[in-house]
Structures are given as structure tokens and as C-alpha cells.
């Protein structure tokens, strides 16, 4: 839509203006890791990172969400909660922005999820191209790059003294327009520079997953012993799913005291046997093999069947932090090679 330039020196000014009028969440270093937190001044930000360990999806699909409040017991009353909060997420990576677009499929459809959709609608995603992908990054396996603007409202790319600013839609335009004095139109040479930065980042990515025809292939190998082989070393923790930017499964529970209560939804994980355990004691997915396979199939077969997109963005978090080195690049690539 628009190609602009923002001088690096003007970034603090830009951020200060944003913070004045909006709740702004940005990458902040805390205890040695990067997390997305609300900031009160630009200096709190840290833009020298690859990815946060905890995915920024949590700002839209909160790990704990109050659905509504109630007075508990048999004479109940319900009280709705306000979900209209507006915010800006600054410095989100293209892969994480894509994950939010992927999640949107699950939360729209026949039954619209007001919590996710309202928050997405009320959030402006101001992205920052990734210039130093890490070892387990593989976003390029899904036809995207560390500098794709596709899923963002605005994307900034560091091209030296300036940020090359891509404004992709009206939501983004509204922001840049309100501070038009900070932005200059970009020249062809700037576009070239962005392309160079993008190519450099793409070239750093050295691990690749073979995803060609994977959904169809998985249709043929559901019962294959390969899955037991993969799953046997799984210890069954929820790290991979909780850190995954596209995992959306949740639990709903009532949490109450004698006088007040709330129905809350909390991220859940298909790695946990209780997840599918019936009240009768029967469990359709009793073994690790069932559960690990479900995680892979949900991303590479069920999601493509239902929404025509693989539910993985190649951020590599599940690989980085799996305590037993279950490596989704390796698993999916090998699944493609298994003889049905």
C-alpha cells in the first residue's frame, strides 16, 4: 500500500507518540529473555533479538482469559466482561504475525470467538523484520521470509540509517498518517536495500523442512510404527504446545470462592493425557504415540484440511526448548520419506 522511510533517530519520537495515545506492547529484556510487555517509554525496548521464547500470540489469545463472571451456586447471575481494549504490538516478527492470521481461522467460522476476534480487530501489528534468524528458524519452508509484510499492518525493516516502512492496510495507514511528519516516502534504492536485507536473512536460514504434499502423505501413514518411534522419547510436557504460536487448544474451568466466581479459559495441551480423558475413565488417546501424532497431524493434516493452511510458521520454538530433542523439522521431513 505505502512504502515509507523512518529515520532510526526518529524511532523514539515515533514510539513516544504511540505510547501517548495507546497501550503499546514491545519486546523487553527480562531475566535474560525477551518478552512482549507493555512499555511506558521507548528506552524500555530491546530490538536486538531473534524471537521471544514466550510467543506474542498470548497478547491476543491470552493464556488465562476470563470469559465472564458470575455469582456461584444455584441462584446464579452472570456478568459480562469488557473485551474492547485497544493495543499496539510493536516489534512482532513476521512469523509470529503469521501465526495470528493462522489462529484466526480457528476462531472465526460458524461460531465467532469474540475474545480472540475482538482483540485481533483492536490490535495493530507493527512488525519488525528479523535480521538474524537462529539455528532452528525455518519460516522459509512455508514460502515466507523473515521480512514478509503479508500478515502485518505495518512492517519496519532495518536498512541502515533508516527503517523501511511498509504500510499494508488502512489500520496501519491510520497510524503513520497521524505522524506523517516523521515519515518520508521511500525511494527505489530503499526498496532495493530492503530486498538485500531480506535476502541476507533468508540466506542465514540453514534448516529446511520438506512440506511438499505432507498433508496427503500423512493421510497414508497414520498407523505407521514411525510414530511410536518418534513419540517414545517424549516425556509428555506441554512446552512444545505452550510455546507454539499456532497452538490454540484450551480448557474451560470455573474458578470461584463462596461469593464470586469466573469462568476462565486457559491454554491446554494435547500432550497431557487428561486432555482427552472421559469422565468414565476411557481415554481415546491413552499413549504418548497418540498424543505426539495428534500434535503433528493437527498442524500438518487437520489444519490444512479444514483451513487450507499448514499450522506451523517455522519459528522453531518447539525445537529450541524440547527437553528431549523432538525436532519437528526432522519429524515432518522423515514422515515425508516413510514408506506407507
Amino acid at each position: 500500500m505505502d512504502s515509507l522511510l523512518l529515520s532510526k533517530n526518529d524511532l523514539p519520537k515515533f514510539m513516544t507518540e504511540l505510547i501517548k495515545k495507546n497501550k503499546v506492547f514491545a519486546p523487553v529484556e527480562s531475566n535474560g529473555t525477551i518478552i512482549y510487555e507493555q512499555i511506558t517509554k521507548p528506552s524500555e525496548m530491546n530490538l536486538d533479538f531473534c524471537k521471544s521464547e514466550y510467543p506474542p500470540k498470548a497478547l491476543i489469545l491470552n493464556q488465562t482469559e476470563t470469559l465472564f463472571k458470575f455469582t456461584p451456586g444455584t441462584k446464579a447471575k452472570i456478568e459480562s466482561v469488557d473485551i474492547d481494549e485497544k493495543k499496539i504490538i510493536f516489534g512482532i516478527r513476521p512469523c509470529d504475525a503469521k501465526s495470528i492470521a493462522i489462529l484466526e481461522h480457528a476462531f472465526k467460522g460458524d461460531y465467532k470467538d469474540p475474545y480472540f476476534l475482538k482483540k485481533r480487530e483492536n490490535t495493530v501489528l507493527v512488525g519488525l523484520s528479523c535480521t538474524k534468524p537462529e539455528i532452528n528458524c525455518f519460516c522459509t519452508s512455508f514460502d515466507d521470509t523473515p521480512a514478509s509484510s503479508k500478515y502485518l499492518d505495518i512492517l519496519l525493516t532495518d536498512i541502515g540509517d533508516n527503517y523501511y516502512v511498509e504500510v499494508t492496510n488502512d489500520k496501519g495507514k491510520l497510524l503513520t498518517k497521524s505522524m506523517s511528519q516523521l515519515f518520508k516516502p521511500a525511494k527505489d534504492s530503499d526498496i532495493k536495500k530492503k530486498k538485500e536485507v531480506e535476502k541476507k536473512a533468508v540466506d542465514i536460514i540453514s534448516r529446511h523442512q520438506k512440506t511438499n504434499g505432507i498433508a496427503d502423505k500423512l493421510d497414508k501413514i497414520f498407523e505407521h510404527p514411525f510414530w511410536k518411534d518418534i513419540a517414545f522419547k517424549c516425556v509428555g510436557c506441554g512446552t512444545c504446545t505452550y510455546l507454539c504460536p499456532t497452538c490454540h487448544c484450551f480448557d474451560i474451568q470455573d474458578e470461584s470462592t463462596l461469593t464470586k466466581g469466573a469462568r476462565v479459559r486457559v491454554w491446554d495441551t494435547c500432550m497431557n493425557p487428561e486432555y482427552t480423558l472421559h469422565a468414565s475413565g476411557y481415554n481415546p488417546r491413552p499413549a504418548r504415540t497418540n498424543r505426539v501424532r495428534n500434535r503433528i497431524y493437527h498442524k500438518y493434516n487437520y489444519y490444512p484440511k479444514n483451513f487450507d493452511v499448514i499450522a506451523c510458521v517455522g519459528c522453531g520454538r518447539c525445537i529450541d526448548l524440547c527437553p528431549v530433542n523432538i525436532d519437528i523439522i526432522d519429524v515432518v521431513t522423515r514422515a515425508g520419506e516413510v514408506k506407507p
Partner: protein, 327 residues
């Protein structure tokens, strides 16, 4: 230095036995400094087994993860043994589980490895970031020989080993059926340096520190699942009726979870550090465990997982047990 051929022979010999279901050990991981648990079901599978200072996992969790699906009509339960490759610290987990009768001694074949300290993978990744090809690490006296892209560098062990190895008193497995190589004696002892320092802090500072740590917790329960001693059939955190800990992820519930888990491991934690290593949010869980371990050592002169014949701490009572803490 562990001879991989000797290890593979031992695995081969073990899996060739009719009464062994599988052997769990280590193989090279999918990238960089990773190693990963692997399983031998037949003698040929032993060829991929390795042991190096990168073999950080405590594999004694695997016999405890065994799923027992309902048997079909006429089907016999598989009563065969499981072979496990263990380091000194790992073996203490098995000893402790045996004490608690969570496992029968004749259900495991223990392949012991005398260990001179493993590498803390997080420290290594920081020193050599972003390597895809397998990084090799060899034991070289008081140094590690780290080979990256064909070049070998020698690095002081103290820079790369986790805290637990710095004070390891049991480098040789306490219990084993086969020992790979020679027994190693330790001249180190647990001095609880970190705990002692932390104890000096004010209550307020202590609380601030832990509040910050527990705030990071995402309740993935990797600490629990990677822990060989967390083998309850139903964890208290999953119980619904009554519900001890709520599902909501907030400082109150997170604190409840982390403290309850630490207390459930009182007198049981053998200090292998699996929980801390597995924690994706880098919560220093071993500091909690070590504090409790220290208290127990001082009060009851008891150490978990060092004597399979002994009763577990909480199952024995001595008339002269200290009781100052009882109001």
C-alpha cells in the same frame, strides 16, 4: 572417558536377553550440541548409542513413563525388563524409586556410566551459537575438548558444567548391573554455597526474587514430566475434585504449583537437575530443591537415593528426630 564400543557391546548384550523389552540410552541429536534419548529393541539398534558430556538427560524417567494400556482378552502383560543407561546422579533416581517401591529391582537392567561431569547445554549454545552439524564434546581431564566445524578447542570444565556437577559426590552409579569403564571416586562435596548465600537475604528480597521467577512459569509442567521422581499416577495439579491448584496462570497459582512440587520432592529429590534443564522459562528450580535438601541433611542426616536398602525419609521415624519445628 567412556568407550562407546564398550557401551554398545553392553547394550547389545542386554537387548539380546529374552527378558529385556528395550534399552534406553543416548544418540546424537538432530542438530548442534543436542543428544537425544534413543531406544534399542534389537541388537543392531545398539550401534547408534553414544555417551559424551552432552548426554545430559536423566533416562531413569523412562521406566516410570511406561504406559499400561488395557489388555485385550487373553493378552498377557509384558513383564520384561527395561535397560537404562545411567550416570551417577541418574542412578540415584532409580535407587530412590526402588526405596519407594515405585519400581522392582528386577524390572530394570542398569548400565552404569562413571561420569566426570556433563555440559550445560545452555552455556555451550551461548559459547558456540547456531551450529547445525553435530558438535562433538570430549572429556579431557579438567577440560572439555569441543570440536566445532573440524576445529577443536579446549575449555575449562568449570565454565561449561552445571552447578550439580561442580559438587557431585556420586560420579559412579550407586547401583548397576554393568559398569562401562572404571569406577570414579569424587573428591567434591556439596557445600550449599548458593543456598547459604541466598539465606542471608532479607525475607523481602527473597520473596521478590521468587516472585519474579514464578511469574515466568507457564505451567507446561516440563519440570514434573522430565523428573523421574514425579511419577504419581495422578498429579495433584491435575486433580479436579478437590482442585488443589487452579488452572489460571498467575503468580498465586504458579507459586502454589512450584512450592507444592518442591515439597512433594522433599527427601526424594536426588539433585539430577532435570527439572531446571527442562524448564523453558529458565526458572532456577534447583535452588528450591537444594534448600530443602540442605535442611533435610542437617536435620535428619539423610540423603535421598544413596541406599536402596534404606527406607524413604518420610517413611521412617526415629525417636531422636529433631522436632523444634513442630509447634
Amino acid at each position: 572417558m567412556v568407550d562407546n564400543n564398550q557401551l554398545r557391546e553392553a547394550v547389545k548384550k542386554t537387548i539380546s536377553r529374552d527378558d529385556v523389552k528395550y534399552v534406553v540410552g543416548y544418540e546424537k541429536g538432530t542438530y548442534g550440541f543436542q543428544t537425544t534419548p534413543c531406544f534399542a529393541y534389537k541388537p543392531e539398534d545398539a550401534d547408534k548409542f553414544i555417551f559424551s558430556p552432552l548426554c545430559v538427560h536423566n533416562l531413569s524417567v523412562f521406566p516410570m513413563l511406561e504406559e499400561k494400556p488395557p489388555l485385550r482378552k487373553g493378552e498377557e502383560p509384558d513383564k520384561r525388563k527395561i535397560g537404562v543407561v545411567v550416570k551417577g546422579c541418574d542412578s540415584r533416581a532409580i535407587v530412590q524409586i526402588l526405596q519407594e517401591k515405585g519400581l522392582d529391582r528386577d524390572k530394570v537392567v542398569i548400565i552404569g556410566i562413571p561420569c566426570t561431569g556433563v555440559v550445560d547445554p545452555k552455556k555451550l549454545e551461548k559459547m558456540f551459537p547456531g551450529h547445525i552439524k553435530n558438535v562433538e564434546v570430549k572429556d579431557d581431564d579438567d577440560k572439555f575438548a569441543v570440536t566445532v566445524d573440524g576445529k577443536t578447542q579446549k575449555i575449562q570444565k568449570s565454565e561449561l558444567i552445571p552447578d550439580k556437577c561442580k559438587t557431585c559426590e556420586y560420579p559412579t552409579p550407586i547401583l548397576y548391573d554393568i559398569l562401562i569403564g572404571k569406577e570414579i571416586k569424587s573428591n567434591k562435596n556439596e557445600d550449599y554455597k548458593k543456598v547459604n548465600e541466598f539465606e542471608k537475604k532479607s525475607l523481602k528480597d527473597k520473596w521478590e526474587y521468587w516472585e519474579k521467577q514464578f511469574d515466568k512459569c507457564i505451567r507446561c509442567y516440563a519440570c514434573r514430566n522430565a523428573c523421574p521422581l514425579c511419577y504419581c499416577k495422578e498429579c495433584m495439579v491435575d486433580q479436579l475434585n478437590p482442585q488443589w491448584v487452579r488452572r489460571s496462570v498467575n503468580i498465586s497459582e504458579n507459586t502454589a504449583w512450584n512450592l507444592l512440587r518442591a515439597f512433594h520432592l522433599a527427601g526424594r529429590c536426588i539433585g539430577c537437575g532435570q527439572c531446571e534443564r527442562s524448564c523453558p522459562m529458565d526458572i532456577p528450580l534447583m535452588e528450591l530443591n537444594k534448600k530443602i535438601e540442605k535442611e533435610i541433611r542437617e536435620m535428619f542426616e539423610y540423603e535421598a537415593g544413596v541406599n536402596a536398602e534404606e527406607k524413604p525419609l518420610l517413611a521412617m521415624f526415629k525417636p531422636d528426630d529433631p522436632e523444634e519445628f513442630i509447634l
